[in-house]
């Protein structure tokens, strides 16, 4: 029996008739809606490549049934840049060479955005490393990733001070 679900993805509402309850959020994003920026690395919550924000929280889209997040607000890598301007985390990943092959990168960046929003790591590199350990990078761009998150965190904190 098809399920009717509604997702707000990157600010756009998608009313989808879900043909198969088995579909994960990851496969719905990639194969049905066509937002292929979110990547499948393991499909089992063991690598973090599929990280997206659901109602502002970073989660693994591969272990989430699409039906279960009906009504949710979802942010994917495609929704981060605004008016052609990169999000500070995206810019910091480029500046610090926080990736090589780029395949885990959407998940790394969404995870970093989630981490910074959680506010537990601050500018402590060790807490950032721990907080980013749910995202495997086989190219092992970890030094650049850590530095990118540090830089972005500082920049976002500065922006907040300025706007406050």
């Amino acid at each position: 029996m098809p399920l009717s679900i509604s997702l707000t993805i990157n600010g756009n509402r998608h009313d989808t008739l879900l043909d198969d309850a088995r579909a994960t959020l990851l496969d719905v994003l990639r194969e049905r809606i066509g937002l292929t920026g979110t990547k499948k690395g393991c499909d089992r919550g063991q690598c973090g490549a599929c990280t997206v924000l659901v109602d502002g929280r970073r989660i693994n889209a591969c272990l989430t049934l699409a039906a279960s997040v009906d009504g949710a607000t979802i942010t994917t890598i495609e929704g981060l840049a605004r008016d052609g301007e990169l999000h500070p985390v995206q810019a910091a990943f480029i500046e610090n060479d926080g990736f090589q092959c780029g395949y885990c990168t959407p998940g790394q960046i969404m995870s970093a955005v989630g981490l910074i929003a959680e506010g537990d790591a601050g500018d402590d590199p060790e807490r950032i490393r721990e907080g980013m350990s749910g995202n495997i990078c086989r190219c092992a761009a970890y030094p650049g990733i850590t530095q990118a998150v540090l830089d972005a965190q500082r920049r976002l904190a500065d922006d907040e001070r300025v706007s406050a």
């Binding site: 309850a21 919550g45 350990s133 540090l150």
Partner: protein, 352 residues
């Protein structure tokens, strides 16, 4: 993954009615159930999505000291709940040492209690596994057994319980609140997981259709807050299951251990609490010898189930270390690497 009907009940009553149907499974965070479905270990006909059930996502700190955690509270939210983490720091540390931030954001308290073993033979549909299908045998025996049980195992099953969260909870006498077709009931977490015997592989004390609604900690749980640690040995620094883990919690009075709680993770089909060791520690002053005695007591009766004798010695040392850390006192701030032996704020954290 097998096709299934997806049902999202609005009330607890509806949920239990749906969940009591044959072939039904409750879905919360999905981090374990969906994984099991993807490898065909779980094949539900009907998924009862309980994530929207009202009232199950709150943590209540009662005046009498008891703490009631709704089954749908997400692991990360519980660990980050300041009042809870202050009352039960070892539980928070255990939570933060488990899985990854993304998984902790999704996984629920009830789901953590329901998570299955990580035994590779359980996950391999081609292997015989009594836990998957009783009576088929246990291919883990004589196989790759580094991660298997050293306590409480039998030839019918040598799997271990993988949870971090449940280790300090067991030591704290947590109680599982259950709702079911026959009405509500409580089950002590210490007996929630049955150990395997020659006839049965062990399992969870939950009848089909029953649903965990909350977890309750007794009023004395916070009395250990000043001296509570969870330590976890892993094959890599983070994002790994425990080789062995230990929770140690002490209620100190005037330099003497008034009461102690100890449990091990990764060594048996349930978090392994040792009341004998706790008794040995009671009314004694912390000392190296005392901790060695306690560790020996915890591992009393331990036997390798394969190529894993090292876990016995390692567990003893971990108990000693966890007791030392607990005696030193709970750190003011959650360590950067929770539950890690590298958790100190000194050393490598200087390097950006």
């Amino acid at each position: 993954m097998k096709s299934f009907d997806y049902i999202r009940p609005a009330t607890l009553e509806e949920a239990i009615a749906a969940g009591s149907q044959p072939g039904a499974s409750y879905l919360a965070g999905g981090t374990n159930l969906l994984d099991l479905m993807k490898v065909d270990v779980a094949r539900p006909d009907r998924i009862v999505d309980i994530t929207r059930l009202p009232g199950l996502d709150r943590t209540e700190m009662h005046d009498d000291g008891t703490i009631r955690i709704g089954a749908l509270v997400r692991n990360a939210d519980l660990a980050r709940d300041k009042a809870f983490a202050a009352a039960c720091p070892a539980v928070a540390e255990a939570l933060l040492s488990g899985a990854s931030p993304q998984l902790r954001n999704a996984a629920t308290v009830g789901g953590n209690l329901m998570q299955q073993t990580r035994c590779a033979y359980f996950y391999d549909p081609h292997s015989a596994c009594n836990r998957r299908q009783q009576g088929t045998g246990c291919d883990a025996l004589g196989g790759d057994t580094r991660n298997h049980a050293v306590l409480g195992w039998s030839d019918s099953c040598i799997a271990t319980h993988p949870s971090d969260f449940c280790v300090p909870l067991t030591a704290l006498d947590a109680v599982v609140e259950i709702e079911g077709p026959e009405g509500p009931r409580d089950a002590p977490l210490s007996r929630f997981y049955s150990l395997p015997d020659e006839a049965a592989p062990g399992g969870v004390d939950l009848a089909h259709g029953e649903l965990i609604t909350a977890l309750r900690l007794p009023s004395d749980a916070a009395s250990f807050a000043g001296h509570a640690r969870y330590l976890k040995l892993r094959e890599r620094t983070s994002y790994a299951f425990a080789i062995v883990s230990a929770a140690a919690m002490l209620r100190m009075e005037g330099g003497v251990i008034a009461e102690a709680r100890i449990a091990l993770g990764g060594v048996a089909a349930r978090p392994w609490r040792s009341v004998i060791a706790e008794e040995r520690l009671r009314d004694a002053a912390p000392s190296a010898d005392l901790f060695v005695e306690a560790a020996e007591a915890v591992l009393q009766g331990a036997e390798p189930s394969g190529e894993n004798a090292f876990k016995i010695e390692l567990s003893k040392r971990l108990v000693i270390r966890a007791l030392q850390r607990a005696a030193e006192g709970t750190p003011e701030r959650m360590p950067a690497l929770p539950a890690s032996v590298f958790a100190s704020d000194t050393g490598v954290s200087d390097h950006a």
